[in-house]
């Protein structure tokens, strides 16, 4: 009896003194580049394994078999992103892949990558967080999207549409089973017949929520980070009454779809608005409207019988897409497919911070800035930067 008691006491004493019983696993990733890929093609693809709960990541490059092995990975929920590029005949092809999976044992995963090409127009800056007034009120009239001509030739922006995805990424994407289209709740188009809004190489146009000098205007906010009095276009919601003030010096975008039509548009200040540029079929507003009307889908409203109609836009018409989320935790609700955007980005400082996301500079050729466009927002964008429309230097 005495020995048993002694043993029990010793077990109790040392049971907590032992070191943690922690687990670690191997994660094997094989990147599937498709049939016909050579060893040269498969070598050197960047594979980023990210812990979604703790916001850290590991990075490795694939071997000639397109494989990588991550050692000593702690249990948790991970995403793996693959980015690769190769130049064939002077054209840069990008390959992106993305997959989420849990790691509670050793894992072997195959990641398929999809090929994409760089776009002529890219979203250079997206400022959605808004700012604070001196009295502490939220101010988001200074939101804007800047579209940049990333090529060496003059491009025409008229007919280019800006799309906001239906989901705010606070839950599963209702449309995730639609693989070849995205679903939009807002479509605004730059007016013109295709030859009226030229954008020079290395230059941009700014689409403002309200085209005023937000710093000086009586209806503005002296603490706003931008002057949008020279914006190229503004989102103007036409009402019989002046619910949305029209800046006379700034041309208006064409409202093609605005499901939750209010007094004015507003991008989600916390980062719920995933936006894209698209060239919707049709050379006139009527033809474009006709396309939209023939691609409406509905979703039952959880709050009542008033179902809303949204527009399906085929992926092939999307020229650039930026998956903006609230934060890392909400990235599991990603909406754009990987061939449009393999990653995601956001403003870590949050709403009213006066900060935005900006595309990284890839290189400067003969004074012309070329922005990074690998179709992976995680890789392509800087977070938490001060808005600087029409400025292209570092």
């Amino acid at each position: 009896m005495k020995n048993i008691l002694t043993l029990a006491l010793m077990l109790l004493l040392f049971s907590c003194l032992k070191e943690p019983d922690h687990r670690s696993f191997l994660v094997d990733i094989t990147v599937d580049f498709g049939e016909g890929s050579s060893a040269y093609d498969r070598t050197g693809a960047k594979v980023i394994l990210s812990n979604q709960l703790k916001s850290y990541s590991f990075e490795l490059n694939t071997n000639s078999e397109g494989k990588v092995r991550f050692h000593s990975i702690e249990p948790g929920f991970y995403s793996v992103a693959v980015t690769h590029s190769m130049t064939v005949g002077g054209i840069i092809y990008y390959f992106n892949g993305l997959k989420n999976f849990p790691v509670f044992d050793s894992v072997t995963e195959i990641i398929q990558v999809k090929e994409s090409k760089a776009s002529a127009f890219v979203i250079k800056e997206f400022y959605y967080s808004g700012s604070l007034t001196s009295s502490g009120k939220s101010y988001n009239s200074d939101q804007y999207i800047e579209i940049f001509n990333n090529t060496g030739e003059k491009q025409f922006a008229d007919g280019m549409s800006v799309i906001e995805h239906e989901s705010y990424a606070i839950g599963d994407n209702f449309w995730k089973n639609l693989h070849d289209t995205i679903v939009a709740k807002m479509i605004w188009t730059i007016p013109g017949n295709g030859t009226q809004v030229p954008v020079e190489p290395g230059k941009s146009i700014v689409l403002a929520k309200d085209g005023i000098n937000h710093k000086d205007d009586p209806n503005g906010n002296p603490l706003a980070p931008v002057n949008l009095g020279n914006a190229d276009f503004e989102f103007f919601v036409r009402w019989d009454t002046d619910k949305d003030a029209d800046a006379p010096a700034v041309p208006n975008l064409i409202e093609d779809l605005f499901v939750f039509r209010g007094s004015d548009i507003a991008f989600h200040v916390n980062g719920g608005s995933a936006v894209a540029l698209a060239k919707i079929p049709g050379t006139t507003p009527e033809e474009r409207k006709d396309y939209i009307n023939h691609h409406l889908v509905t979703k039952e409203s959880v709050s009542g019988p008033n179902s809303k109609f949204y527009a399906k836009i085929a992926n092939k018409y999307i020229t650039d897409a930026v998956e903006v989320t609230w934060d890392d935790a909400h990235a599991i609700y990603k909406r754009f497919p990987i061939d449009l955007d393999a990653g995601y980005t956001y403003v870590p400082s949050g709403s009213n911070s006066g900060k935005c996301i900006r595309r990284k500079i890839k290189e400067v050729v003969n004074g012309r800035t070329i922005y990074m466009d690998t179709n992976n927002s995680t890789e392509d964008f800087l977070k938490d930067v001060t808005p600087r429309p029409w400025i292209y230097e570092n």
């Binding site: 019983d21 670690s24 709960l53 703790k54 249990p75 929920f77 009120k137 916390n270 949050g350």
Partner: protein, 517 residues
Amino acid sequence: MKIKLAILFLISIGFRENLLCQDELPKSNLYSIRQIELSTPWLQTGNASGLFLIPDLFPAEIKLGFDFQEGDFHSIYEGKTLQNYSLSSRSYRKINKTYLYGSLNYRKGYEYGLNFSNLNSPDKNYPYIMADTIGNDTYDREFISLEGMISSPLSDRLNWGLKFGYEVGVAAQNRDPRPENKAMQLTVSPGLLYRAGKIKLGANFNYEYYNEDVDVDVIEANQQHTLFLQHGLGNYTYHQSSSFYRLYQQHQIGAGMQFDFISGNFSNLLYSRFDYLWQTVDDGRAASMANWSFVKNDARMDGINWNIHNVAILRKGNKSHLIETSLKIDSRLGTEYIQRLEKVGETDLERWVTYASEQKYYSMSTHADFNYNLMNESPGGRLNSLLNAGVGYTKFMEEYYLPNLSRAFSNLVFTVGWLKRTNFSKADFSTELKLSYKVSLEKDQNIDLSKPIAKKIQVPEFEYQTCDYFSPGIAFSYEIPAKKILDKYFIKTDFNWMQSTTGYYRATINLTTGIIF
């Protein structure tokens, strides 16, 4: 509140009237309580049944205190300036064969220049500390604590005892994000003591409960702040919101045993205590919102505290030699929960779904002490002088797994002090000189400096823990006899200076005044 406080004070000292009839007892003085604590090592054991072993001094005191600390040499979890005001009372008494002790303390305090803690006492929650990076905060605290002991004989050889403690209070910061901490600690410890000739055997059971509710608010409209939820050695998750809720709960159970041997002028008390504790850390939050509708289990900490002490006392005439040796080992095992916010059920309610729990953190602290005290008393039992010298060894190591991080250090602290009391006419004047010196023996740190919390918190804290320092101190007290039922009025001032080898300092000033009876 004030009436309740007054009643509690009266309860804690109110039994003095009975005691005054015992004319043979010596008059109490400022050092009577310290004298009792030194000469009755049973009071250190936590077994209240040994309370009847105190010498025949039954002092009571009521005092007002003011503490002030200032300087850059401090833990990263502590403010640059501390300021505390206190009103306290304590006393020993005997009613027939029952011995009693009671104390009450009310404390109002301010902690200025605090940068990296949203917790009332971060050492209780380490490593699961919550912090924001908006610095220069002020903590405003108001706490009240009660402590009591009772010891009474069950038979000629057996005594029972009960010790209890209760502390409750509120701490609040003044700058966004501003936490309001409601903390409560309860301790209950019943015990028995058996006497047989030269031997005394004791055993006691211990239960403690600690609860800290943290409610963080952002008052400024439309503002969100980032809160870093630390997991040890610079690892953390973060939460960005305009509010946040966290609840720490800790249960601690344990037991102690005592063995006392007395032979002539020599006595030796050997005692040991073992406690097991578990602390849970729960957050009320969704992905980027804070609400107790979404309970997220952040971590759990298990630990043991084990200590063994020996106190040998040799009495020769008016002199008592006390030799204390002790060893204390505390270990902590931290577990993190892997959870994900998911919609569950037919109503699509969001809940944190647990997928696994992982043991990630481990620490062990070893502390060994050796102390010698020489107490000189007058024939009437009055403390005349006290010399003490000691050395303490501390070793601390902690580890975090995946990524594998570690930190360890050890140090030695030498202390020496001398107290001398001098009688001038009817007044007593005392001087106490103190000196301590800390030398770091070894230090090793392997952390990920690319993490902001590691750079801002872990590195400076490690430097503080491993920095050598030199600390002289001096205290003066002056006691004058009081009339009628009171024994003494006193005023005492205590000053300590810590000077680190890295050029930082910390000064501590303590002023107390009160009455003894």
